[in-house]
Symmetry: D2
Subunit: 417 residues, 4 copies
């Protein structure tokens, strides 16, 4: 992000509170886990829980403590090699697909590493250094970075646990509230020459900026995400085998991986079940569908006589809608049935993840944060039940490859106006 982008509207004290809060929430997330759970890496796209714990810590060390604190001593300088993710300007890295081989440092060692860095950052934030504002801004960035990893931590864990036929639950199952989904309706929007992108004083990533003009033709937007009931109708109508509904690359992927339903689903005695962070659960027909790829979402929309919204449409249509989802903080970790708002599942848009006009990444390794992923991925908007609420905002752009499914990914329909 540009220097402007790195400006924060938080006071240093507020930043310190945010830091304590975010770090504490991470620690709370892993409380139910055994050390064995924390080293699993189920695929290259996913990372072990322990790696998330260490990587988010390394981020503060690499971009704040090392460059700014004289005589800062890391518990182990080699952690920088193990826990860098993709920052090429921050030096060489441990191979991404071998993160599950790192049994040591142990979970206890990593906890000590976290405490060490937390102390150093906390100390820094109560100093009276000249560069305290800059430091606070970087700490805030580190907190948002860690919030992103909180979501990945639980979704990566879900993926790893899904290979275990014992179907272990991350958290004890709780009864799901019974709520009917509202009837599907489309709201009309005029479009026109609008502005999208972040413009406030708070935190936002470089890729959400600059706020810029774009032209949007009249369109209609659904009042809620697509539900499991609707998805099952698509399945029952032969949607997965109906090639003309699908993009060519989607057909190839669906065939190669034999997709017949969303990830983690199976059928048992005529009923659909799904594996969740609360273990095996019956599919709730009124809840938003989740764990579907862009290919599936795009085909579903065509089947439904609709299409995916663009991100400009999404941002315009939701500009006045506050978030009311089912947040990580609420600890439910499943999309809520009957939801009519946003924040329960990420919503695929039909927009490729590309730079906004005038996009300028910040200088240095921090500038690699988003820009180097701007190819082959699609934007999702909103946020999911695994997203910390503090991380959600109207301009937020997350992005995944069109074949990916292990995140909390769903969709909302749109139509031409």
């Amino acid at each position: 992000m540009s220097d402007a982008a790195l400006h924060s509207d938080l006071s240093v004290g507020e930043t310190a509170a945010l830091f304590a809060d975010v770090r504490g929430r991470t620690a709370k997330l892993v409380e139910p886990l055994n050390p064995e759970d924390m080293v699993l890496q189920s695929m290259t796209d996913a990372s072990p829980v322990k790696w998330h714990l260490a990587h988010t810590t390394w981020f503060f060390e690499e971009f704040i403590l090392r460059p700014r604190v004289a005589n800062y001593a890391s518990p182990d300088d080699r952690f920088a090699f193990l826990f860098n993710s993709y920052y090429v300007q921050a030096g060489p890295r441990h191979a991404r697909d071998k993160r599950g081989m790192i049994s040591r440092p142990t979970v206890a060692d990593v906890a000590a590493y976290r405490a060490h860095v937390e102390d150093a950052i906390a100390t820094l934030l109560v100093s009276n250094r000249e560069d305290l504002d800059e430091i606070a801004t970087l700490v805030e960035l580190g907190c948002h970075h860690e919030m992103q990893h909180q979501e990945l931590l639980v979704t990566d864990l879900l993926h790893a646990l899904s290979y275990n036929s014992l179907m272990p639950a991350y958290r004890d199952p709780e009864p799901m509230p019974v709520t009917a989904a509202p009837d599907l309706a489309f709201n009309r929007h005029d479009g026109g020459l609008v502005e999208i992108g972040y413009s406030g004083d708070g935190f936002a990533y470089d890729c959400e900026q600059p706020r810029h003009k774009t032209y949007v033709a009249p369109f209609q937007m659904a009042n809620r995400p697509v539900t499991n009931r609707e998805w099952i109708a698509f399945m029952d109508d032969g949607g997965y085998g109906n090639d003309p509904l699908w993009l060519m690359d989607g057909i190839a992927r669906a065939r190669a991986e034999d997709w017949q339903h969303p990830l983690y689903w199976w059928q048992q005695d005529g009923e659909w079940w799904t594996f969740t962070l609360r273990g095996a659960q019956p599919v709730n027909l009124d809840a938003p569908v989740v764990h579907v790829s862009y290919y599936e979402a795009e085909a579903f929309a065509r089947w439904a006589g609709a299409r995916l919204p663009t991100e400009a449409e999404w941002e315009t249509a939701h500009a006045a809608t506050p978030i009311e989802g089912n947040f990580l903080d609420n600890a439910n970790l499943r999309p809520l049935p009957g939801t009519g708002v946003w924040g329960d599942v990420w919503e695929w848009t039909g927009s490729a993840f590309l730079p906004y006009p005038g996009f300028q990444p910040p200088q240095g390794a921090i500038g690699e944060y988003n820009g180097k992923f701007m190819v082959n991925q699609f934007v999702l908007r909103g946020g999911s039940c695994a997203t910390p609420k503090a991380q959600m905002r109207h301009s937020y752009r997350t992005f995944f490859y069109p074949h990916q499914r292990w995140q909390m990914l769903g969709l909302r329909l749109a139509k031409d106006g």
Copy 2:
């Protein structure tokens, strides 16, 4: 394309002339080849010459003769299975990566197949059927389809021949005219709320439509494509090994395939050479660079302190520039040195290939023409020395995956205004 889109402004007689002309040009293209040359398939992305000859013929048979001519008899009904490409609504297909296994029908058999279908179409076009206008419109589509395959035919052939260490020349080498490239300059454009997309009465594909409004911020556009001289400067500056210039997916691909220069290049006695349709040739420093992927083009642009244009910028900036390239019809088959116009090499844009607002594909299998490729690919604009001139227009969108290089792919720089 919508029904409107299938309207043609050619008379039936003009269509018949176009048909004769296009079919004749295809035949001329393969004159220098042996039967052995015509069955080679060097990768899944490429097809044998003979397959192009048959597939373009099958297109007329499948979409015109079979549905509209009572008692039409194909030389062999099984050709439909062998020579369908990807039209899922037109039935099952021969595996795409096994097209090089089809030694029979032989080249002679395919020539007879071509003659058979040409007779039938010619007969149809001089009939006085009620649906003659519809037929003529479909014939025109078939001609444009065949022109696309003319370009693929020669580029696929180049790829296949490149595996032969004898470096066989498709055509005899001719001396390349000596012309210096004009100095690089950027022309400023105001942008604003503009319209792009095809709007005339002539032929255009569904994906070029509808003409629609879009907002473009002020920008600058280079006066010519990037040259080989500039590309070598990038190479000499370590561009291929400078990770921060590259997209992450680009680094992965470049590493996996050990990219150090454009496709078909090698160094010999301190000079760069390249394999072309005229055999081995020294790289002409003043000619546009060609056979570079999106990943390479995007990294080059960053290195040059610029970026790739969007397709709206490209179309706006070129709206008043006539084509003056080096066309397939001119038979040179190499980008011309010193070119300052468009039509010598395709130019990568930074725009993903996605539907225009309001896009409507036509009904039926014809509707699969472009729509089902609208994911994971980037748009190129312009046209190349392998493109028939009749196929070039300002609104034309071709598209390739960001790693592909075997087509005549180059780039032109742009900047924010």
Copy 3:
């Protein structure tokens, strides 16, 4: 082979006659083919017909003409690169999996290359050089080498044609003689301390030597190969899905490639059909089963309460049995129904292809002929309907990987005595 092994009992004149005969037979084999047929390469294990034509010619050039004929001029020195197969001491080679990309030299060019080398060899054999005996011995080796490639030529061709749904026939179908297979019987052999390996004055490969002692326990050998009728009984009994019958590596391969029957088989209206060099044919129940891998053969034998013979058992048991098969020279190119002898199908043994005690390969590149393949392969004995009769002998060891099926591979059962 050792120098002794390279001794030949043919006179120079007989060698010249063998040379003319073998070269002529190769030319005859390709008469029914089009140029397009001759460039197909369907997998890395197989080579194009044209490559076989050129490689067998290169062998004479590389090992006789170049080292021994002053001023010998090849039509193109670069052919050595294109048509070397695996002789590492003979220099670098064209990538094996890209042989199907070599459209030029054309079939006509290769015919001229063949004629050029044939003239040179014929001239050499009527000279009165001092090293004429050595030359004749090498020519004889080249003839046997070419006979091996005659078999590969037709089996590789069959594999390539099998990808064509038109099911083209290499030769016109002829009615298959109707003969019932003899009843299965086992002949008992005493074994003991026996000798195997080649010991005569004629031609034999290095790997058939030295003749050596080996101890064989009493055993029983079937009177004929396993028939298609017996194989179908195995299939009908669920043999392909009965894991305990199979080796672990066999299960993995059979699952990965979905083996349910021999290669080239399919079921049609309740009857089994197979693709052959004479096109589609009903499976003849009395003919030996062919196109089965070692894994399948080994599992079948276990199902049948028997086992595969060792090569010592095979050679001992067949020592007194003359060849009476259905040879390539007879041009039938299908195993004959009712055969009770050997020479119709290669017979898998349970012996790994390893050096005989005291094995010594000859010096130089010729020494790479067999020795470097002595790992991971199993020996087959006998010979097939695609094997030239002059190439068959009791001590002959051919070898393939246990998963390979595209050669004319069958089996004969054995039991402990």
Copy 4:
């Protein structure tokens, strides 16, 4: 093994003592490990430590407790699915390459599982059941099975830890005794009609039987394994790049994986280092080379003007040599420098792993123990510093694929007599 083979010469009491001893040694092996270490799976060939702990326990449950103890209750019946390895007759299994995904049951759960089964077996062995002898024989088999897994446990662990750039040591480094290797010498053996295979009253696997006659030509056997000093001479002489020394499949594998030295080696300041169970260590020039594949060993032997021994030669030559190696029980876990006996490293033979004449596997799932691996693997003889001494005997045949290197694999040279 046949029923006879399952006869044991141990009394029931001795079997109970063996059981207690073996189970205790396994527990001791994992004492230095953290839970995180115990779930790592670094490749399909290797399994997590925890899996070994559970699988060896499952073996007693599956083949003894379930079939023979009425009302036996497992801690979790689903463990049978998770911890079966390859016994197809024992039901479906967890995918082998996903064993590293099983975080639960935890290490503590598995320890409880072990205790549960140990109690049940111990109780059984002090009962006065009629089938007590049969049970004791099966318990003895289970103990030998567990000893095999003790070796795999530490070698699999080494492989997993090798991916960690922190180079964690399984055990604290101890100084290596300084001993010079004896000079290389070859001892001549007459061979003749000999007998090999197990014939005593103790425990032996089915594949070591029956003892049988075989003919061995005169040969010479080296007095000790090949040392690291000799291996470095091979490397320095360009052995890894000298294609004519290598088998074709070996060249392909060495190229694909860029082999330039044994597994786990690297060069640092001109000296060779290696990663061991005691962490990074300098390569001891007098110690036997270890972690070399069959391909490397076979090429080395050719370079040295020798060859690998057959297993008949090995067994004959060592018949009178007692084991004096460096055993797992001694806890050194590195081949000892200066060793002139056997038992420090497994020694590759040139014999494929195939059934002995008259081989009969036992009935049922136990019969899958060795027989189903009799393809594509080579026999090694002796034993390594990771092998429990009680498992070593002259007739023991272990086997690995020719490309595998992660076990303690070395070689001893032989020559024709």
